[in-house]
Protein backbone atom coordinates (compact mmCIF):
# COMPACT_ATOMS: atom_id res chain seq x y z
CA UNK A 1 0.00 0.00 0.00
CA UNK A 2 2.67 2.46 1.07
CA UNK A 3 6.31 2.36 0.04
CA UNK A 4 8.62 5.11 1.30
CA UNK A 5 12.05 4.93 -0.32
CA UNK A 6 15.11 6.80 0.87
CA UNK A 7 13.17 9.92 1.83
CA UNK A 8 15.20 13.05 2.52
CA UNK A 9 13.35 16.21 3.55
CA UNK A 10 14.18 19.53 5.09
CA UNK A 11 12.48 22.56 6.60
CA UNK A 12 14.26 25.70 5.48
CA UNK A 13 17.93 24.75 5.62
CA UNK A 14 17.45 22.12 8.28
CA UNK A 15 17.48 18.47 7.14
CA UNK A 16 14.93 16.46 9.16
CA UNK A 17 14.52 13.18 7.31
CA UNK A 18 17.77 11.64 6.10
CA UNK A 19 17.05 8.54 4.08
CA UNK A 20 13.89 7.10 5.61
CA UNK A 21 12.49 3.90 4.09
CA UNK A 22 9.33 2.07 5.16
CA UNK A 23 6.94 -0.43 3.60
CA UNK A 24 3.37 -0.77 4.88
CA UNK A 25 0.94 -3.38 3.59
CA UNK A 26 -2.85 -3.32 3.86
CA UNK A 27 -4.07 -4.70 7.18
CA UNK A 28 -0.85 -3.91 9.05
CA UNK A 29 -0.33 -1.66 12.04
CA UNK A 30 3.10 -0.05 12.22
CA UNK A 31 4.25 1.87 15.24
CA UNK A 32 6.90 4.52 14.78
CA UNK A 33 8.67 5.45 17.96
CA UNK A 34 11.48 7.82 18.58
CA UNK A 35 12.80 10.60 20.78
CA UNK A 36 11.71 14.21 20.40
CA UNK A 37 13.14 15.80 17.28
CA UNK A 38 13.73 12.50 15.50
CA UNK A 39 11.36 13.47 12.66
CA UNK A 40 8.20 11.58 13.70
CA UNK A 41 5.79 14.47 13.21
CA UNK A 42 7.60 15.60 10.06
CA UNK A 43 6.98 12.18 8.54
CA UNK A 44 3.26 12.42 9.42
CA UNK A 45 2.98 15.88 7.91
CA UNK A 46 4.88 15.00 4.74
CA UNK A 47 2.65 11.99 4.12
CA UNK A 48 -0.48 14.15 4.53
CA UNK A 49 0.88 16.99 2.38
CA UNK A 50 1.35 19.87 4.77
CA UNK A 51 3.11 22.77 3.01
CA UNK A 52 6.51 23.91 4.28
CA UNK A 53 8.64 20.81 3.70
CA UNK A 54 11.12 20.39 0.89
CA UNK A 55 11.63 16.88 -0.44
CA UNK A 56 15.31 16.64 -1.34
CA UNK A 57 15.47 13.02 -2.40
CA UNK A 58 13.47 9.81 -2.44
CA UNK A 59 9.90 8.90 -3.29
CA UNK A 60 6.66 7.75 -1.73
CA UNK A 61 4.47 5.30 -3.58
CA UNK A 62 0.87 4.96 -2.36
CA UNK A 63 -1.46 2.45 -4.04
CA UNK A 64 0.71 2.62 -7.15
CA UNK A 65 0.64 6.43 -7.30
CA UNK A 66 3.18 9.14 -6.51
CA UNK A 67 1.84 10.39 -3.17
CA UNK A 68 4.09 13.44 -2.98
CA UNK A 69 2.71 14.79 -6.27
CA UNK A 70 -0.83 14.99 -4.89
CA UNK A 71 -2.45 18.01 -3.18
CA UNK A 72 -3.42 17.35 0.47
CA UNK A 73 -7.13 17.16 -0.37
CA UNK A 74 -6.50 14.61 -3.12
CA UNK A 75 -4.48 12.45 -0.74
CA UNK A 76 -7.38 12.60 1.70
CA UNK A 77 -9.88 11.59 -0.96
CA UNK A 78 -7.58 8.76 -2.02
CA UNK A 79 -7.77 7.47 1.54
CA UNK A 80 -4.89 9.02 3.51
CA UNK A 81 -5.88 10.35 6.94
CA UNK A 82 -3.81 12.13 9.55
CA UNK A 83 -5.06 12.30 13.11
CA UNK A 84 -3.38 15.50 14.31
CA UNK A 85 -1.32 15.76 17.45
CA UNK A 86 -2.77 19.25 17.90
CA UNK A 87 -6.19 19.40 16.19
CA UNK A 88 -6.97 22.91 14.96
CA UNK A 89 -9.86 24.98 16.35
CA UNK A 90 -12.03 26.52 13.64
CA UNK A 91 -14.55 28.96 15.13
CA UNK A 92 -17.70 29.45 13.08
CA UNK A 93 -17.52 26.17 11.13
CA UNK A 94 -19.73 23.53 12.67
CA UNK A 95 -18.39 20.04 13.16
CA UNK A 96 -21.20 18.41 11.20
CA UNK A 97 -20.95 20.86 8.30
CA UNK A 98 -17.20 20.26 8.11
CA UNK A 99 -17.60 16.48 8.29
CA UNK A 100 -20.27 16.52 5.59
CA UNK A 101 -18.09 18.63 3.27
CA UNK A 102 -15.20 16.21 3.82
CA UNK A 103 -17.36 13.11 3.42
CA UNK A 104 -19.00 14.32 0.23
CA UNK A 105 -15.73 15.51 -1.29
CA UNK A 106 -14.38 11.99 -0.89
CA UNK A 107 -17.60 10.37 -2.14
CA UNK A 108 -17.62 12.57 -5.23
CA UNK A 109 -13.95 11.81 -5.92
CA UNK A 110 -14.71 8.10 -5.88
CA UNK A 111 -17.88 8.35 -7.90
CA UNK A 112 -19.99 7.33 -4.91
CA UNK A 113 -23.33 8.98 -4.00
CA UNK A 114 -23.09 12.10 -1.82
CA UNK A 115 -25.25 12.24 1.30
CA UNK A 116 -27.86 14.88 2.12
CA UNK A 117 -28.06 16.47 5.54
CA UNK A 118 -30.62 14.00 6.96
CA UNK A 119 -28.94 10.66 6.20
CA UNK A 120 -25.53 12.18 6.96
CA UNK A 121 -26.62 13.31 10.41
CA UNK A 122 -27.85 9.79 11.12
CA UNK A 123 -24.48 8.38 10.06
CA UNK A 124 -22.38 10.71 12.20
CA UNK A 125 -24.61 10.26 15.24
CA UNK A 126 -23.94 6.52 15.07
CA UNK A 127 -20.22 7.10 14.67
CA UNK A 128 -20.20 9.61 17.54
CA UNK A 129 -21.79 7.04 19.81
CA UNK A 130 -18.99 4.62 18.96
CA UNK A 131 -16.36 7.05 20.26
CA UNK A 132 -18.59 8.00 23.20
CA UNK A 133 -18.97 11.57 22.01
CA UNK A 134 -21.98 13.64 23.04
CA UNK A 135 -23.93 14.43 19.82
CA UNK A 136 -24.06 18.07 21.01
CA UNK A 137 -20.43 18.33 19.88
CA UNK A 138 -21.55 17.79 16.29
CA UNK A 139 -23.28 21.17 16.28
CA UNK A 140 -20.40 23.01 17.90
CA UNK A 141 -17.61 24.73 16.01
CA UNK A 142 -14.79 22.39 15.01
CA UNK A 143 -12.69 21.74 18.14
CA UNK A 144 -13.49 25.17 19.58
CA UNK A 145 -13.32 25.03 23.34
CA UNK A 146 -12.91 21.23 23.30
CA UNK A 147 -10.71 19.68 25.98
CA UNK A 148 -7.61 17.78 24.89
CA UNK A 149 -9.45 14.47 25.15
CA UNK A 150 -12.48 15.79 23.25
CA UNK A 151 -10.25 17.00 20.44
CA UNK A 152 -8.60 13.59 20.09
CA UNK A 153 -11.98 11.89 20.17
CA UNK A 154 -13.12 14.24 17.42
CA UNK A 155 -10.13 13.11 15.34
CA UNK A 156 -11.16 9.50 15.79
CA UNK A 157 -14.74 10.41 14.88
CA UNK A 158 -13.45 11.89 11.62
CA UNK A 159 -11.42 8.72 11.08
CA UNK A 160 -14.54 6.62 11.57
CA UNK A 161 -16.63 8.77 9.20
CA UNK A 162 -14.04 9.07 6.43
CA UNK A 163 -12.94 5.39 6.57
CA UNK A 164 -9.44 5.92 5.16
CA UNK A 165 -7.21 3.20 3.70
CA UNK A 166 -4.14 4.54 5.44
CA UNK A 167 -4.54 6.21 8.83
CA UNK A 168 -1.63 8.02 10.45
CA UNK A 169 -2.05 8.74 14.15
CA UNK A 170 0.37 11.44 15.26
CA UNK A 171 0.95 11.27 19.03
CA UNK A 172 -2.71 10.52 19.54
CA UNK A 173 -1.96 9.56 23.15
CA UNK A 174 -0.47 12.92 24.11
CA UNK A 175 -2.55 14.79 26.61
CA UNK A 176 -4.95 11.90 27.25
CA UNK A 177 -5.77 10.40 30.61
CA UNK A 178 -6.11 6.64 30.78
CA UNK A 179 -9.89 6.58 30.30
CA UNK A 180 -9.76 8.82 27.24
CA UNK A 181 -6.87 6.76 25.91
CA UNK A 182 -8.94 3.57 26.17
CA UNK A 183 -11.88 5.14 24.35
CA UNK A 184 -9.65 6.46 21.58
CA UNK A 185 -7.81 3.13 21.27
CA UNK A 186 -11.01 1.11 21.10
CA UNK A 187 -12.27 3.50 18.39
CA UNK A 188 -9.11 2.78 16.44
CA UNK A 189 -9.23 -0.98 17.06
CA UNK A 190 -12.78 -1.12 15.76
CA UNK A 191 -11.45 0.36 12.51
CA UNK A 192 -8.76 -2.26 12.03
CA UNK A 193 -9.42 -4.36 8.95
CA UNK A 194 -7.54 -6.34 6.30
CA UNK A 195 -8.03 -3.43 3.85
CA UNK A 196 -6.78 -0.70 6.15
CA UNK A 197 -3.31 0.13 7.40
CA UNK A 198 -2.26 2.24 10.38
CA UNK A 199 0.90 4.13 11.17
CA UNK A 200 0.90 4.93 14.85
CA UNK A 201 3.44 7.59 15.76
CA UNK A 202 4.18 7.78 19.45
CA UNK A 203 6.83 8.74 21.93
CA UNK A 204 5.67 6.30 24.61
CA UNK A 205 4.94 2.64 24.68
CA UNK A 206 1.74 3.17 26.68
CA UNK A 207 -0.55 3.61 23.64
CA UNK A 208 0.76 0.34 22.19
CA UNK A 209 -0.72 -1.60 25.14
CA UNK A 210 -4.09 -0.68 23.67
CA UNK A 211 -3.35 -0.48 19.96
CA UNK A 212 -1.13 -3.51 19.51
CA UNK A 213 1.14 -3.09 16.49
CA UNK A 214 2.38 -5.72 14.07
CA UNK A 215 5.69 -3.90 13.62
CA UNK A 216 7.63 -1.36 15.62
CA UNK A 217 10.20 0.97 14.07
CA UNK A 218 12.56 3.27 15.84
CA UNK A 219 13.14 6.61 14.19
CA UNK A 220 16.32 8.44 15.12
CA UNK A 221 18.23 11.18 13.34
CA UNK A 222 15.77 11.16 10.45
CA UNK A 223 16.08 7.45 9.63
CA UNK A 224 14.61 4.19 10.81
CA UNK A 225 17.42 2.65 12.79
CA UNK A 226 15.75 -0.45 14.15
CA UNK A 227 12.66 -2.48 13.30
CA UNK A 228 11.05 -5.39 15.06
CA UNK A 229 7.83 -6.81 16.45
CA UNK A 230 5.75 -5.44 19.30
CA UNK A 231 8.33 -6.63 21.84
CA UNK A 232 10.70 -3.94 20.55
CA UNK A 233 8.44 -1.30 22.10
CA UNK A 234 8.73 -2.96 25.50
CA UNK A 235 12.48 -3.17 25.20
CA UNK A 236 12.63 0.52 24.33
CA UNK A 237 10.43 1.39 27.29
CA UNK A 238 12.79 -0.49 29.59
CA UNK A 239 16.11 0.70 28.19
CA UNK A 240 15.22 4.18 26.91
CA UNK A 241 16.10 5.77 23.61
CA UNK A 242 19.71 6.10 24.68
CA UNK A 243 20.02 2.39 24.04
CA UNK A 244 19.36 3.01 20.32
CA UNK A 245 21.28 6.25 20.04
CA UNK A 246 24.38 4.73 21.66
CA UNK A 247 24.76 2.39 18.74
CA UNK A 248 24.49 5.15 16.13
CA UNK A 249 27.18 7.26 14.54
CA UNK A 250 26.86 10.86 15.66
Amino acid sequence: MLNIENLHAKVGDKPILKGLSLKVKAGEVHAIMGPNGSGKSTLSYILSGRPGYEIVEGRVDYMGKDLLAMAPEIRAREGVFLAFQYPVEIPGVSNKYFLKAAYNARAKHRGEPELDAGPFLKLIKEKARAVEMDPAFLSRSVNEGFSGGEKKRNEILQLAVLEPRLAILDETDSGLDIDALKIVASGVNRMRSPERAFIVVTHYQRLLDYIVPDFVHVLSGGRIVKSGGKELALELEKKGYGWIDAGQPA
Partner: protein
Protein backbone atom coordinates in the same frame (compact mmCIF):
# COMPACT_ATOMS: atom_id res chain seq x y z
CA UNK B 1 -29.19 76.03 -3.46
CA UNK B 2 -26.80 73.63 -5.04
CA UNK B 3 -27.75 69.99 -4.75
CA UNK B 4 -24.26 68.73 -5.42
CA UNK B 5 -22.21 67.90 -2.38
CA UNK B 6 -19.14 69.65 -1.06
CA UNK B 7 -16.65 67.15 0.25
CA UNK B 8 -14.94 67.72 3.56
CA UNK B 9 -11.24 68.52 3.42
CA UNK B 10 -9.31 65.32 2.78
CA UNK B 11 -7.08 66.17 5.75
CA UNK B 12 -9.90 66.72 8.21
CA UNK B 13 -10.45 64.23 11.05
CA UNK B 14 -12.47 61.25 9.89
CA UNK B 15 -11.36 61.65 6.28
CA UNK B 16 -7.58 61.36 6.49
CA UNK B 17 -7.49 57.67 5.63
CA UNK B 18 -10.34 57.64 3.15
CA UNK B 19 -9.65 57.90 -0.59
CA UNK B 20 -12.28 60.34 -1.93
CA UNK B 21 -11.76 59.56 -5.61
CA UNK B 22 -15.07 57.75 -5.99
CA UNK B 23 -16.88 60.88 -4.75
CA UNK B 24 -14.93 63.49 -6.73
CA UNK B 25 -15.09 61.73 -10.10
CA UNK B 26 -17.18 61.82 -12.16
CA UNK B 27 -19.02 65.08 -11.53
CA UNK B 28 -22.37 64.29 -9.93
CA UNK B 29 -25.36 66.35 -11.06
CA UNK B 30 -28.62 66.60 -9.06
CA UNK B 31 -30.79 63.57 -9.74
CA UNK B 32 -34.07 63.82 -11.62
CA UNK B 33 -36.84 61.22 -11.31
CA UNK B 34 -36.13 58.24 -13.56
CA UNK B 35 -37.96 58.04 -16.91
CA UNK B 36 -39.53 54.75 -15.90
CA UNK B 37 -39.79 53.05 -12.55
CA UNK B 38 -37.61 49.95 -12.03
CA UNK B 39 -39.52 47.23 -10.16
CA UNK B 40 -38.05 46.30 -6.76
CA UNK B 41 -38.98 42.62 -6.95
CA UNK B 42 -35.83 40.51 -6.92
CA UNK B 43 -33.65 43.57 -6.33
CA UNK B 44 -34.13 44.04 -2.60
CA UNK B 45 -33.24 41.59 0.15
CA UNK B 46 -36.30 42.00 2.33
CA UNK B 47 -39.54 40.15 1.64
CA UNK B 48 -42.70 42.00 0.63
CA UNK B 49 -44.39 41.10 3.91
CA UNK B 50 -42.85 44.13 5.65
CA UNK B 51 -44.26 47.65 5.74
CA UNK B 52 -42.37 49.21 2.85
CA UNK B 53 -41.64 52.65 1.50
CA UNK B 54 -39.09 53.69 -1.10
CA UNK B 55 -37.23 56.85 -1.92
CA UNK B 56 -36.24 56.84 -5.60
CA UNK B 57 -33.58 59.41 -6.45
CA UNK B 58 -34.44 61.12 -3.19
CA UNK B 59 -38.21 61.26 -3.73
CA UNK B 60 -40.99 59.36 -2.03
CA UNK B 61 -42.35 56.87 -4.56
CA UNK B 62 -45.95 55.94 -3.84
CA UNK B 63 -45.93 53.14 -6.42
CA UNK B 64 -43.40 51.22 -4.30
CA UNK B 65 -45.12 51.76 -0.97
CA UNK B 66 -46.71 48.80 0.79
CA UNK B 67 -48.27 50.22 3.90
CA UNK B 68 -51.01 48.75 6.01
CA UNK B 69 -50.28 50.39 9.31
CA UNK B 70 -52.01 49.68 12.58
CA UNK B 71 -52.97 52.47 14.94
CA UNK B 72 -50.06 54.17 16.63
CA UNK B 73 -47.58 53.80 13.77
CA UNK B 74 -47.12 56.44 11.13
CA UNK B 75 -44.83 56.25 8.12
CA UNK B 76 -44.99 59.47 6.12
CA UNK B 77 -43.22 61.48 3.50
CA UNK B 78 -40.96 64.24 4.81
CA UNK B 79 -41.46 66.57 1.86
CA UNK B 80 -40.31 70.15 1.64
CA UNK B 81 -37.25 72.23 0.98
CA UNK B 82 -34.46 71.67 3.41
CA UNK B 83 -32.48 74.33 5.13
CA UNK B 84 -34.23 73.97 8.45
CA UNK B 85 -30.82 73.54 9.97
CA UNK B 86 -29.73 76.99 8.92
CA UNK B 87 -29.40 77.69 5.25
CA UNK B 88 -26.91 76.57 2.66
CA UNK B 89 -24.25 74.19 3.90
CA UNK B 90 -20.80 75.54 4.38
CA UNK B 91 -17.92 73.55 3.01
CA UNK B 92 -17.01 72.64 6.58
CA UNK B 93 -20.37 71.02 7.22
CA UNK B 94 -20.49 67.26 7.07
CA UNK B 95 -22.18 65.33 4.31
CA UNK B 96 -25.03 64.57 6.71
CA UNK B 97 -25.71 68.30 7.20
CA UNK B 98 -25.73 68.72 3.45
CA UNK B 99 -28.14 65.82 3.03
CA UNK B 100 -30.46 67.38 5.58
CA UNK B 101 -30.26 70.78 3.95
CA UNK B 102 -30.47 69.69 0.33
CA UNK B 103 -33.07 66.92 0.63
CA UNK B 104 -36.48 67.62 -0.86
CA UNK B 105 -38.05 64.54 0.58
CA UNK B 106 -37.63 61.78 3.07
CA UNK B 107 -39.37 59.43 5.45
CA UNK B 108 -40.70 60.01 8.93
CA UNK B 109 -41.48 56.98 11.08
CA UNK B 110 -43.35 57.61 14.29
CA UNK B 111 -44.35 54.96 16.80
CA UNK B 112 -46.63 56.14 19.58
CA UNK B 113 -46.01 55.46 23.25
CA UNK B 114 -46.14 51.78 24.26
CA UNK B 115 -46.99 50.66 20.72
CA UNK B 116 -45.04 47.70 19.40
CA UNK B 117 -44.75 47.66 15.62
CA UNK B 118 -46.32 44.48 14.26
CA UNK B 119 -43.90 44.08 11.35
CA UNK B 120 -40.54 45.54 10.35
CA UNK B 121 -40.58 48.87 8.55
CA UNK B 122 -38.54 48.65 5.38
CA UNK B 123 -37.17 51.83 3.83
CA UNK B 124 -35.57 51.35 0.42
CA UNK B 125 -33.18 54.02 -0.82
CA UNK B 126 -32.99 53.68 -4.59
CA UNK B 127 -30.66 55.46 -6.98
CA UNK B 128 -31.72 54.96 -10.59
CA UNK B 129 -29.20 56.56 -12.94
CA UNK B 130 -29.68 55.75 -16.61
CA UNK B 131 -27.16 57.86 -18.48
CA UNK B 132 -25.45 60.49 -16.36
CA UNK B 133 -23.77 60.61 -12.98
CA UNK B 134 -26.18 61.82 -10.33
CA UNK B 135 -26.46 62.62 -6.64
CA UNK B 136 -29.60 62.52 -4.55
CA UNK B 137 -30.13 63.63 -0.98
CA UNK B 138 -32.69 62.31 1.48
CA UNK B 139 -33.55 62.47 5.17
CA UNK B 140 -35.05 59.97 7.53
CA UNK B 141 -36.55 60.45 10.97
CA UNK B 142 -37.31 57.56 13.28
CA UNK B 143 -39.16 58.58 16.38
CA UNK B 144 -40.07 56.10 19.09
CA UNK B 145 -42.11 57.48 21.92
CA UNK B 146 -41.89 56.19 25.45
CA UNK B 147 -41.92 52.39 25.61
CA UNK B 148 -42.48 51.99 21.85
CA UNK B 149 -40.81 49.20 19.92
CA UNK B 150 -39.96 48.96 16.22
CA UNK B 151 -37.68 47.31 13.74
CA UNK B 152 -36.50 49.48 10.87
CA UNK B 153 -34.53 48.20 7.90
CA UNK B 154 -32.96 50.73 5.58
CA UNK B 155 -31.76 49.14 2.38
CA UNK B 156 -29.59 50.93 -0.20
CA UNK B 157 -29.58 49.88 -3.85
CA UNK B 158 -28.53 51.38 -7.16
CA UNK B 159 -29.91 50.70 -10.62
CA UNK B 160 -28.86 51.83 -14.07
CA UNK B 161 -25.56 52.05 -15.90
CA UNK B 162 -24.42 55.49 -14.74
CA UNK B 163 -22.63 56.28 -11.46
CA UNK B 164 -24.91 57.37 -8.64
CA UNK B 165 -24.48 58.75 -5.15
CA UNK B 166 -27.05 58.63 -2.38
CA UNK B 167 -26.40 61.02 0.48
CA UNK B 168 -28.69 60.43 3.43
CA UNK B 169 -29.16 62.02 6.83
CA UNK B 170 -31.06 60.07 9.45
CA UNK B 171 -32.12 60.77 12.97
CA UNK B 172 -33.34 58.27 15.54
CA UNK B 173 -34.97 59.50 18.74
CA UNK B 174 -35.69 56.93 21.41
CA UNK B 175 -37.70 58.13 24.36
CA UNK B 176 -37.55 56.41 27.73
CA UNK B 177 -37.89 52.61 27.58
CA UNK B 178 -38.18 52.63 23.79
CA UNK B 179 -36.61 49.82 21.82
CA UNK B 180 -35.32 50.07 18.26
CA UNK B 181 -33.70 47.43 16.08
CA UNK B 182 -32.20 49.30 13.15
CA UNK B 183 -30.49 47.75 10.13
CA UNK B 184 -28.66 49.51 7.32
CA UNK B 185 -27.98 47.15 4.44
CA UNK B 186 -25.89 48.64 1.63
CA UNK B 187 -25.60 46.53 -1.46
CA UNK B 188 -25.09 48.99 -4.26
CA UNK B 189 -24.02 47.94 -7.73
CA UNK B 190 -20.41 48.62 -8.76
CA UNK B 191 -21.30 52.18 -9.83
CA UNK B 192 -23.19 53.05 -6.66
CA UNK B 193 -22.05 55.24 -3.79
CA UNK B 194 -23.79 55.74 -0.46
CA UNK B 195 -22.93 58.13 2.33
CA UNK B 196 -25.12 57.92 5.40
CA UNK B 197 -25.06 59.95 8.57
CA UNK B 198 -27.07 58.87 11.60
CA UNK B 199 -27.71 60.84 14.75
CA UNK B 200 -29.26 58.78 17.51
CA UNK B 201 -30.41 59.84 20.94
CA UNK B 202 -31.29 57.30 23.63
CA UNK B 203 -33.36 58.24 26.64
CA UNK B 204 -33.43 56.46 29.96
CA UNK B 205 -33.45 52.66 29.67
CA UNK B 206 -33.90 52.91 25.91
CA UNK B 207 -32.38 50.06 23.94
CA UNK B 208 -31.05 50.25 20.41
CA UNK B 209 -29.64 47.34 18.40
CA UNK B 210 -28.00 48.82 15.37
CA UNK B 211 -26.49 46.88 12.46
CA UNK B 212 -24.52 48.06 9.47
CA UNK B 213 -23.94 45.72 6.52
CA UNK B 214 -21.76 47.05 3.70
CA UNK B 215 -22.00 44.47 0.93
CA UNK B 216 -21.05 46.32 -2.23
CA UNK B 217 -20.69 49.56 -4.12
CA UNK B 218 -17.83 51.80 -5.16
CA UNK B 219 -18.02 53.79 -1.92
CA UNK B 220 -19.96 53.17 1.29
CA UNK B 221 -19.66 55.32 4.35
CA UNK B 222 -21.52 55.63 7.61
CA UNK B 223 -21.03 58.36 10.17
CA UNK B 224 -22.90 57.42 13.30
CA UNK B 225 -23.27 59.71 16.26
CA UNK B 226 -25.10 58.26 19.25
CA UNK B 227 -25.82 59.91 22.57
CA UNK B 228 -26.82 57.85 25.57
CA UNK B 229 -28.31 60.73 27.49
CA UNK B 230 -30.73 58.86 29.79
CA UNK B 231 -29.76 56.57 32.64
CA UNK B 232 -29.30 52.91 31.82
CA UNK B 233 -29.55 53.26 28.03
CA UNK B 234 -28.16 50.35 26.02
CA UNK B 235 -26.64 50.44 22.57
CA UNK B 236 -25.48 47.47 20.50
CA UNK B 237 -23.58 48.25 17.32
CA UNK B 238 -22.73 45.45 14.94
CA UNK B 239 -21.21 45.71 11.52
CA UNK B 240 -19.92 43.66 8.64
CA UNK B 241 -18.20 44.99 5.53
CA UNK B 242 -17.42 42.71 2.60
CA UNK B 243 -15.18 44.43 0.09
CA UNK B 244 -13.51 43.52 -3.16
CA UNK B 245 -12.14 45.09 -6.35
CA UNK B 246 -11.44 48.78 -5.66
CA UNK B 247 -14.32 49.25 -3.23
CA UNK B 248 -13.98 51.66 -0.34
CA UNK B 249 -15.96 51.42 2.88
CA UNK B 250 -15.86 53.54 5.99
CA UNK B 251 -17.50 52.92 9.33
CA UNK B 252 -17.23 55.84 11.73
CA UNK B 253 -18.99 55.86 15.05
CA UNK B 254 -18.91 58.26 17.94
CA UNK B 255 -20.82 57.15 21.01
CA UNK B 256 -21.27 59.59 23.85
CA UNK B 257 -22.12 58.39 27.31
CA UNK B 258 -23.43 61.29 29.34
CA UNK B 259 -25.63 59.52 31.88
CA UNK B 260 -25.11 56.90 34.57
CA UNK B 261 -25.18 53.19 33.83
CA UNK B 262 -25.08 53.22 30.04
CA UNK B 263 -23.92 50.19 28.11
CA UNK B 264 -22.39 49.99 24.61
CA UNK B 265 -21.21 46.93 22.72
CA UNK B 266 -19.63 47.69 19.37
CA UNK B 267 -18.12 45.05 17.07
CA UNK B 268 -17.41 45.63 13.40
CA UNK B 269 -15.83 43.05 11.11
CA UNK B 270 -14.51 43.50 7.60
CA UNK B 271 -13.36 41.07 4.92
CA UNK B 272 -11.14 42.66 2.27
CA UNK B 273 -10.20 41.18 -1.06
CA UNK B 274 -8.27 42.55 -4.07
CA UNK B 275 -7.42 46.25 -3.74
CA UNK B 276 -10.30 47.26 -1.47
CA UNK B 277 -9.98 49.67 1.38
CA UNK B 278 -11.66 49.86 4.78
CA UNK B 279 -11.52 52.51 7.46
CA UNK B 280 -12.86 51.96 10.95
CA UNK B 281 -13.01 54.69 13.55
CA UNK B 282 -14.93 53.88 16.69
CA UNK B 283 -14.80 56.38 19.52
CA UNK B 284 -16.55 56.00 22.83
CA UNK B 285 -16.62 59.19 24.83
CA UNK B 286 -17.50 58.87 28.50
CA UNK B 287 -18.44 62.27 29.90
CA UNK B 288 -17.95 63.38 33.51
CA UNK B 289 -20.71 61.92 35.65
CA UNK B 290 -21.37 58.96 33.35
CA UNK B 291 -20.39 56.54 36.10
CA UNK B 292 -20.94 52.79 35.78
CA UNK B 293 -20.61 53.06 32.03
CA UNK B 294 -19.90 49.63 30.57
CA UNK B 295 -18.57 49.93 27.02
CA UNK B 296 -16.61 47.92 24.48
CA UNK B 297 -15.51 48.66 20.95
CA UNK B 298 -13.79 46.11 18.73
CA UNK B 299 -12.86 45.95 15.07
CA UNK B 300 -11.62 42.74 13.41
CA UNK B 301 -10.46 42.53 9.84
CA UNK B 302 -9.66 39.65 7.54
CA UNK B 303 -7.43 40.45 4.57
CA UNK B 304 -7.44 38.06 1.61
CA UNK B 305 -5.08 39.83 -0.79
CA UNK B 306 -1.73 41.57 -0.82
CA UNK B 307 -3.16 44.89 -2.02
CA UNK B 308 -6.10 45.49 0.33
CA UNK B 309 -5.66 48.12 3.05
CA UNK B 310 -7.26 48.68 6.44
CA UNK B 311 -7.10 51.56 8.86
CA UNK B 312 -8.49 50.61 12.26
CA UNK B 313 -8.90 52.95 15.18
CA UNK B 314 -11.02 51.86 18.15
CA UNK B 315 -10.68 54.54 20.82
CA UNK B 316 -11.90 55.75 24.21
CA UNK B 317 -12.05 59.14 25.86
CA UNK B 318 -12.93 58.69 29.49
CA UNK B 319 -13.75 61.46 31.93
CA UNK B 320 -15.37 59.37 34.65
CA UNK B 321 -13.57 57.10 37.10
CA UNK B 322 -15.97 54.25 37.81
CA UNK B 323 -16.32 52.67 34.40
CA UNK B 324 -15.56 49.45 32.55
CA UNK B 325 -14.20 50.08 29.07
CA UNK B 326 -12.47 47.73 26.67
CA UNK B 327 -11.38 48.08 23.09
CA UNK B 328 -9.32 46.25 20.51
CA UNK B 329 -8.49 45.95 16.87
CA UNK B 330 -7.11 43.09 14.81
CA UNK B 331 -6.00 42.70 11.23
CA UNK B 332 -5.15 39.22 10.02
CA UNK B 333 -5.10 36.69 7.23
CA UNK B 334 -6.65 33.27 6.89
CA UNK B 335 -4.86 30.81 9.14
CA UNK B 336 -2.57 28.44 7.20
CA UNK B 337 -3.08 25.87 9.97
CA UNK B 338 -6.85 25.95 9.56
CA UNK B 339 -6.58 25.74 5.77
CA UNK B 340 -4.35 22.69 5.96
CA UNK B 341 -6.57 21.02 8.53
CA UNK B 342 -9.62 21.34 6.26
CA UNK B 343 -7.69 20.23 3.16
CA UNK B 344 -6.26 17.22 5.00
CA UNK B 345 -9.85 15.99 5.31
CA UNK B 346 -10.50 16.25 1.57
CA UNK B 347 -11.99 19.76 1.36
CA UNK B 348 -10.44 21.53 -1.63
CA UNK B 349 -8.52 24.72 -1.10
CA UNK B 350 -11.10 27.09 -2.61
CA UNK B 351 -13.87 25.54 -0.52
CA UNK B 352 -11.70 25.62 2.59
CA UNK B 353 -11.04 29.34 2.09
CA UNK B 354 -14.72 29.92 1.50
CA UNK B 355 -15.64 28.08 4.71
CA UNK B 356 -13.19 30.11 6.77
CA UNK B 357 -14.24 33.47 5.31
CA UNK B 358 -17.89 32.58 5.75
CA UNK B 359 -17.27 31.58 9.35
CA UNK B 360 -15.60 34.94 10.01
CA UNK B 361 -18.52 36.93 8.62
CA UNK B 362 -21.29 34.66 9.84
CA UNK B 363 -20.69 35.70 13.45
CA UNK B 364 -22.25 39.08 12.63
CA UNK B 365 -25.09 37.68 10.57
CA UNK B 366 -26.09 35.23 13.29
CA UNK B 367 -26.87 38.21 15.50
CA UNK B 368 -29.63 39.32 13.17
CA UNK B 369 -32.89 38.37 14.87
CA UNK B 370 -35.08 38.92 11.83
CA UNK B 371 -35.05 35.49 10.16
CA UNK B 372 -35.80 36.37 6.54
CA UNK B 373 -33.24 39.16 6.64
CA UNK B 374 -30.69 36.85 8.24
CA UNK B 375 -31.16 34.31 5.47
CA UNK B 376 -30.89 36.97 2.77
CA UNK B 377 -27.70 38.30 4.34
CA UNK B 378 -26.29 34.80 4.63
CA UNK B 379 -26.93 34.24 0.91
CA UNK B 380 -25.37 37.62 0.15
CA UNK B 381 -22.29 36.64 2.17
CA UNK B 382 -21.92 33.40 0.19
CA UNK B 383 -22.37 35.36 -3.03
CA UNK B 384 -19.60 37.75 -2.04
CA UNK B 385 -17.01 34.98 -1.62
CA UNK B 386 -14.12 35.20 -4.06
CA UNK B 387 -14.74 31.58 -5.01
CA UNK B 388 -18.48 32.15 -5.28
CA UNK B 389 -17.64 34.67 -7.95
CA UNK B 390 -15.47 32.16 -9.82
CA UNK B 391 -18.18 29.54 -9.65
CA UNK B 392 -20.67 31.91 -11.29
CA UNK B 393 -18.25 33.03 -14.01
Amino acid sequence: MSESAVLPDARSPGWRFTPQDALTRPRFAPAAPPAALTPLAGRVLCPVGFHRVALVNGRWESAHALLDLPAGIRVESWRGEGGARGGAPAAAAGLGDQAFACARDGVVVTVAAKVRADRPIHIVHVADAADRAQISHARVMIRLERGARAEVIEEFVSFGEAPSWKNVFARADLDEDAELVHYRVLHDAAQGRTTYALDAELGARARCESFLFQLGGAFAREDLHARLSGEGAQLGLGGLSLLRAGEVADAHAVVEHSAVGGRTRHLHKAVLDESSRFVFEGLIHVHPGAQKTDAQVYNRNLILSETARVHSDPEFRIFADDVSCRHGGAIGRLSAESLFYLRSRGVDEAEARRMLVYAFGAEMIERVGQESLREALSAALRERMPEGREARA
